[in-house]
């Protein structure tokens, strides 16, 4: 194009320099984003390889045998499911309702600021402290003893602030003009919330709740002090092996026990346990994502 008499659209050195920076920036950001995937793939790959000799449906359905050095993980899996569902059954309603109050009703006064501060600080409390609190409050003070109830309530307290935060986030993403339009025609706050705010925030709220499953399933400390036990004799494949006032086994606890407390465990069993724990959490997360996608397609603006 050198023979073009006058080209007003040629790149100046400044533009070329900016373009180089642009390309560099893009690749750096892409590199960081891609790096996120690597650890996950490495973890899963490593676990899968090491766990391969034990992984089977039989491993999931069977109970631990020969002093936990062989057999399966059924009681731990069921225990984890018990704990997760019970704790979320407690924390989800409380958290969602509290978040609705905080986001939709609360005025900016000292009392509500105290609530906000409490929620934030509760979210920052380490899980081992939650465990001690659960031990004191539920096991001893409330006399629930070392039981599924105590452990589930402890997990509920631990997940509560995060559920409140994510629910508030979801509610705040609904444009305020929708609420005002409702108020303008004489709707109460609750009528506006029910008709417009909740239907549009529900996907975000549910996602926030379901993501707490992975936390509740993965934490060891809070349940170790309050209701999880090393070993409990359970029928193979029994769906309802525990009473709520009994202690139970749990996957995270089981993994800790196998890895550190029991001599002579078959080498692949801890890895297989980790795979099952990871797999069930990923399964729940996948459900959360598909639910979110489904609800989003029904989103109306």
């Amino acid at each position: 194009m050198t023979d073009a008499p006058e080209n007003n659209f040629t790149a100046t050195p400044l533009i070329r320099k900016r373009l180089r920076q642009e390309t560099m920036a893009k690749w750096i950001f892409f590199g960081m984003a891609a790096a996120m995937v690597v650890p996950l793939l490495l973890i899963i790959g490593y676990l899968a390889v090491r766990a391969a000799p034990s992984l089977s449906l039989e491993f999931i359905l069977d109970v631990p045998r020969r002093g936990m050095t062989a057999g399966g993980i059924w009681p731990a899996l069921v225990g984890t499911i018990y704990l997760v569902f019970l704790s979320l059954a407690v924390s989800a309603p409380i958290g969602i309702l509290a978040a609705i109050y905080l986001n939709e009703y609360a005025r900016d006064n000292w009392f509500n600021r105290v609530i906000n501060l409490a929620v934030l600080n509760l979210a920052g409390v380490p899980s081992i402290v939650h465990a001690l609190f659960g031990l004191g409050a539920f096991v001893y003070a409330a006399r629930f003893g070392y039981s599924i109830i105590s452990a589930a309530l402890t997990l509920a307290i631990m997940t509560l602030p995060v559920i409140i935060a994510s629910t508030r986030e979801a509610l705040a993403s609904v444009p305020p003009s929708f609420r005002e339009a409702c108020w303008n025609v004489g709707a109460t706050r609750w009528q506006a919330i029910r008709a417009v705010v909740l239907p549009n925030a529900i996907s975000g709220i549910l996602t926030g709740v379901i993501l707490q499953v992975s936390r509740a399933a993965g934490e060891t400390a809070p349940i170790m002090f309050t209701g999880a036990v090393f070993f409990k004799a359970v029928e193979r494949g029994d769906l309802f092996p525990y009473y709520l006032d009994e202690q139970c086994m749990a996957l995270s606890m089981h993994l800790y026990t196998l890895s550190t407390q029991v001599p002579g465990v078959m080498e692949s069993i801890p890895y297989a346990t980790a795979i099952v724990l990871l797999g069930s959490v990923l399964l729940v997360n996948a459900m959360a994502i598909s639910l979110r996608v489904y609800l989003r397609t029904r989103k109306k603006w």
């Binding site: 005025r107 003009s177 108020w183 303008n184 025609v185 709707a187 008709a195 549009n200 603006w301």
Partner: protein
């Protein structure tokens, strides 16, 4: 038509925190007139409307004094604020199609008021959509989403919703800033029809719009009334206040 005061505002003051934005204004709106309110940004036009239907209550840390009487009744001492809001139709600057179907958008207010029978709702929906000049365009798709309509259609849907609780006063807050001139004209025709049934308060940035529609116009500036007068005075050669002349003629300094 006999001149009858519909809305009476006396020494209204409004402060957000310590910042007073309305400095004690008094004016009357007559029944059945189109009352134009013009004024630059920050002149508290929208705040005034929010005092009228008391949605100002939703904003924290506001202080209102003075009185606003509708039909002789002070809005701040009214028995039910929800009944008050149902007497006032409010149309916001940007169209707000609620994320509901067109039908539900219009039926929302009657439903909030406790009307749930479909046989009672359907005629209301049709009446309001006809009044807002939207019926012919949407009658075949009442169950599609209100948010899928075009901007101009959504604004008419907002007007239909504002009419659905049979208000006695219709407040329009710069309803035309997001829509094209042709649609604006259609809505202006709608307003000319509606004024037979209700009092209309028209807040507008377009001085020419007030000139076309309003019987009387108030010029608000920084929370004070500069001048209230009939349209031909305000937009004529000799309004009482020099600032009115300058603003209307577009040479405001």
């Amino acid at each position: 038509m006999a001149v009858e005061t519909h809305i009476e505002v006396t020494d209204l003051r409004l402060a957000y925190g310590h910042r007073e934005v309305i400095h004690g204004i008094s004016f009357d709106v007559r029944r059945g007139e189109i009352f134009g309110i013009i004024g630059p940004a920050q002149s508290a036009k929208t705040s005034l409307l929010r005092c009228l239907n008391r949605t100002i209550d939703f904003t924290p840390d506001t202080h209102v004094s003075g009185s606003i009487k509708i039909d002789g009744q002070d809005v701040r001492k009214t028995g039910s604020v929800y009944a008050l809001r149902r007497k006032i139709g409010m149309v916001a600057p940007l169209p707000v199609g609620l994320p509901l179907t067109i039908y539900d958008n219009v039926a929302f207010a009657p439903r909030c008021a406790g009307l749930t029978r479909r046989s009672a709702l359907a005629p209301i929906v049709e009446r309001c959509l006809r009044q807002a000049a939207l019926w012919d365009e949407v009658k075949d798709r009442l169950n599609s989403l209100g948010t899928r309509l075009s901007g101009g259609q959504q604004q008419r849907l907002t007007i239909a919703r504002a009419l659905s609780h049979q208000p006695e006063v219709l407040c329009l807050d710069e309803f035309s800033i997001a829509i094209d001139p042709v649609t604006t004209m259609r809505i202006e025709d709608v307003l000319k029809e509606l004024r037979r049934e209700m009092t209309i308060i028209l807040v507008t940035n377009l001085t020419q719009q007030a000139r076309r529609l309003a019987d009387r116009t108030m010029f608000l500036w920084n929370g004070d009334i500069v001048e209230i007068g009939t349209t031909d005075v305000i937009f004529g050669d000799r309004p009482k206040d020099r600032r009115t002349y300058d603003y209307v003629q577009g040479i405001f300094g």
